[in-house]
């Protein structure tokens, strides 16, 4: 079977969960081949990629791949699409992943699908559009299918692959090196998982009432090992940083469990979380639209309900 290239997402040498999901998905459609772009691959990372089915691991260790914005990774993938005669390319549907996919599509004269929540035979993708109101099947008509898949679209399942390493030397054009990364500024986020990747997300909205009160949301998140999100009302009020906003103009999350506390559930918010598998809502207003989505809802004051829930979670761990 032909190779399906999976661009590896990693943080300081550690392979991110979404990559394991993409490898799991790639196994059902062809031969998974992981693509590591940049320096710093470790023996642990290689073992992890093989454990989840990578038959091949392309290692392009050049620092140029990460010292310039987006374009070098698209050039690397374009080179591999040709040399490996790849059947498809899968990337994580993060903001940067989608930018890479877009540039790669132009370079390889191929169709591209973004925000797939499933991928089946013939690379037919499932998408959820218009704030979750419509389900779509789409496919690429020309070239090598390039698909950006949302984190949490499939559960990662280990199944050992050969993990044969192949070093790749990439020749970057000057155009690909046009935008330099001068500095990476890492902001303290503690030990919480990343919002778009987290299996569980606990979000707070207008009902939280203040920046200080977000500690209630954080407490529940930490008890569950979850990421913290916020509605636009909460970020607009300055109670929580903007990068944690879930919704149409913020992040899209698709976790196993989404807990919405003090969030009414306007369409703009639903657009960012409606594909969550299980939804729990806590809100004072029994008419809040979020309850239409909820698998479980508590009509009550989040300042009472959430701390009690946190205590119960900690007790039952």
């Amino acid at each position: 079977m032909s190779e399906i290239l999976v661009l590896v997402e990693q943080v300081e040498g550690e392979v991110k969960k979404v990559t394991l999901e993409l490898l799991t998905l790639a196994r059902t459609l062809g031969t998974p081949a992981a693509v590591w772009a940049g320096p710093g691959i470790t023996a642990e990372a290689k073992a992890r990629l093989a454990e989840y089915g990578a038959e091949k691991i392309y290692v392009a260790g050049s620092g140029d791949l990460v010292d310039h914005v987006v374009a070098p990774k698209a050039e690397l993938l374009a080179q591999l699409v040709t040399s490996a005669s790849a059947a498809a390319v899968l990337v994580a549907a993060t903001a940067e992943g989608k930018e890479i996919a877009g540039r790669l599509a132009i370079k390889t004269d191929s169709g591209v699908i973004t925000d797939a929540v499933g991928l089946g035979e013939g690379f037919v993708a499932d998408q959820s559009i218009f704030g979750g109101g419509v389900n779509v099947h789409s496919r690429v008509r020309k070239g090598t299918p390039i698909v950006a898949v949302r984190p949490n679209s499939t559960a990662p399942v280990a199944a050992a692959g050969a993990g044969v390493e192949e070093e790749v030397s990439v020749t970057l054009t000057d155009a690909a090196k046009a935008t330099r990364v001068v500095e990476r500024v890492k902001q303290e986020k503690g030990a919480r998982p990343e919002l778009t990747e987290a299996a569980i997300v606990v979000s707070g909205g207008r009902g939280v009432g203040s920046a200080e009160n977000f500690s209630v949301i954080e407490g529940l998140a930490d008890a569950l090992g979850a990421a913290v999100g916020a509605s636009r009302a909460a970020t607009d009020a300055g109670w929580y940083p903007h990068q944690f906003q879930v919704g149409q103009t913020g992040k899209t999350v698709s976790p196993q469990l989404y807990i919405a506390a003090g969030i009414s559930g306007a369409i703009q918010h639903r657009a960012g979380m409606q594909t969550a598998k299980t939804i729990v809502a806590i809100n004072k207003d029994p008419e809040a639209p979020i309850f239409e989505l909820a698998d479980y809802g508590v009509v009550g004051d989040l300042h009472q309900v959430v701390p009690q829930l946190t205590e119960e979670v900690n007790k039952r761990k």
């Binding site: 132009i106 973004t114 779509v136 008509r141 369409i267 989505l293 479980y296």
Partner: protein, 259 residues
């Protein structure tokens, strides 16, 4: 500085959005058209850069006739003139075609800086700014929450999952902006009146050397095979908190093996 700000008219999120059953494309007549929200931040950033460095702000949009409403809004905010790429042959264009067509117009009209919102609220692919940079062969400085220009150098703070990257390049360049980079101004009455007199040039594909074989639904590199309304979620259990709401929710989480 010659700044081009790209804006898109999108169906209002607050109204019901539909695909057309005959060709699976967005039904742009079914819903009210509004300016894509993130594009308002792009217009504001373009105006601020003009105010700081001089030059001119040109609005560029691709879309059907009614997209002129969106152009007028950007002009009312303070942009100087507009170019409207409008041609029936463009209907159903995907991101590859759209980036190609817009790049052709940008090459024709020239620019030092192209500014866009980082994604639209309808298709939400988030790819167009990067694809324009690819097509134009110019530096990509996207997902900006801060933009600075000094001479021919442009510096941007690019949002990342871990914080942000400070990135830089030499003009001409393509920039996309995220929400909160600024506070978009409201058009004043004077601005609205002035906008009516500002020049809007309408281009058909032939005017921008756009190959008709590269645009429109027939040329699309990807397609919607079929679509259906999302099945309603099964009605959940809603309880009223009687002092044990948290414990009840914990029971539910335990039943689903989350704890």
């Amino acid at each position: 500085m010659n700044i081009v700000v790209c804006v898109k008219q999108v169906p209002d999120t607050a109204t019901e959005r539909k695909l057309r059953s005959e060709d699976n494309t967005l039904d742009r007549d079914a819903a009210d058209g509004v300016v894509n929200e993130l594009d308002e931040y792009a217009v504001e950033e373009a105006l601020k850069l003009k105010e700081a460095h001089g030059g001119e702000v040109t609005v560029l949009t691709m879309g059907p006739g009614k997209a002129t409403e969106t152009i007028r809004k950007a002009l009312a905010m303070g942009a100087d003139k507009a170019v409207h790429l409008s041609d029936d042959a463009l209907r159903g264009s995907d991101a590859l075609s759209t980036s190609y067509a817009m790049a052709q117009v940008l090459k024709k009209i020239g620019f030092d800086l192209v500014v866009l919102g980082s994604e639209s609220t309808d298709a939400r692919t988030g790819m167009l700014p990067a694809m324009l940079a690819e097509r134009l062969g110019t530096p990509q400085l996207t997902l900006a929450n801060k933009v600075e220009v000094e001479g021919s150098t442009i510096r941007v703070q690019r949002l990342a999952d871990y914080g942000y990257d400070r990135i830089e390049a030499t003009l001409p360049a393509v920039v996309s902006v995220v929400e909160k980079i600024n506070e978009p101004r409201y058009p004043s009455f004077k601005g609205i009146m002035a906008a009516k007199k500002k020049p809007v040039e309408t281009l058909a594909i032939g005017d921008a050397s756009i190959d008709p074989g590269q645009v429109g639904l027939a040329a699309a590199w990807s397609e919607v095979v079929d679509f259906a309304p999302a099945p309603p979620r099964a009605a959940g259990t809603i309880v009223k908190d009687e002092g044990d709401g948290g414990a009840n929710a914990a029971d539910f989480l335990a039943s689903k093996k989350f704890i």
